[in-house]
C-alpha cells in the first residue's frame, strides 16, 4: 500500500439530487472553471425473463476499491487539465430510478472535463471491485454484468 491519500467515494444508499446540487453550488467560488461534466448512473427496472428488477444491492472490496480509485484519479489528473474531480458510488440497496454513481469533473475548457468524466466512468466500471446484485420484484435475483 503506498502513501498516496485515499479519499472515500462510497456512500450508503442512493446519491440524492440535493447532494448533487450542493456539489455543483460549491464550485461557484472556483471562477477559473469554464465547464463541468457530470455522469449519473441510475438503476434501471429491466425485465429479465418476465421478472422486473426493483433494486440493485451494491457491495465492494472497499479497501481495494479506494486504492484503485486513487490510482485512477492520479492518472486522470496527469492526463487532463482538471480543476477538480469528485466521485461518489452507492453501496447497499438502490431502488430502480435512484442514482448509484455520480462522477463530476471541472476544467477551464470544456474538453478536459468532458473527456476526463467519460474516462473516469469507463475505468470505474472496468476496474473498481464493486458488485451489483439485481433484485427482482417478488423474489429472486441475478448478478449484474457490466459491458
Amino acid at each position: 500500500m503506498d502513501k498516496k491519500k485515499v479519499k472515500n467515494i462510497f456512500t450508503e444508499g442512493p446519491v440524492e439530487a440535493a447532494f448533487i446540487a450542493d456539489s455543483i453550488a460549491k464550485h461557484a467560488t472556483k471562477t477559473s472553471i469554464g465547464g463541468h461534466s457530470i455522469f449519473l448512473g441510475q438503476v434501471r427496472a429491466d425485465m429479465v425473463d418476465g421478472k422486473q428488477v426493483e433494486a440493485i444491492e451494491y457491495t465492494s472490496h472497499v479497501e481495494m476499491a479506494l486504492e484503485t480509485m486513487s490510482a485512477i484519479r492520479e492518472d486522470i489528473f496527469a492526463k487532463y487539465a482538471l480543476t477538480c474531480m469528485h466521485v461518489h458510488h452507492s453501496l447497499g440497496i438502490i431502488k430502480a430510478g435512484e442514482i448509484c454513481l455520480f462522477v463530476f469533473t471541472s476544467s477551464k475548457h470544456r474538453k478536459d472535463a468532458i473527456d476526463a468524466c467519460t474516462a473516469c466512468v469507463e475505468r470505474i466500471k472496468a476496474e473498481l471491485p464493486v458488485w451489483g446484485k439485481e433484485i427482482f420484484e417478488g423474489e429472486g435475483y441475478q448478478w449484474k454484468i457490466n459491458n
Binding site: G41, T59, H61, L101, K125, L128, V130, W131, G132, N146
Partner: protein
C-alpha cells in the same frame, strides 16, 4: 495466517465473506485449495487480488496477507 475473502457471487457460493487459512506458499496453491473446499468456484471466472493488488500470475503469499477471490466487476 492468511485471510481469504470472497466477494459478490463467491460470497453466496461459499457462504462466507472471509476465512483464515494457514500459510500457503502461493496463489496457485491457494486457488487449488479453495476450489477443493468450495467446488462452486471451479466453473467460475474469478480474479485474485493479494493485498489489494490484482495478480494474474502465480504470486508468493506472505504471512499476514489478504487474498480476495472476486467475480467480474459490475459497479456503476
Amino acid at each position: 495466517m492468511i485471510e481469504v475473502m470472497f466477494f459478490g457471487q463467491f460470497k453466496d457460493a461459499t457462504g462466507v465473506s472471509s476465512i483464515m487459512v494457514e500459510e500457503v506458499a502461493n496463489t496457485d496453491m491457494l486457488i487449488q485449495m479453495m476450489k477443493k473446499r468450495y467446488p462452486a468456484l471451479e466453473s467460475s471466472t474469478y480474479m485474485i487480488a493479494v493485498n489489494n493488488a490484482m495478480v494474474t500470475e502465480n504470486t508468493i503469499i506472505r504471512h499476514g496477507s489478504k487474498v480476495a477471490f472476486m467475480p467480474p466487476f459490475s459497479g456503476g
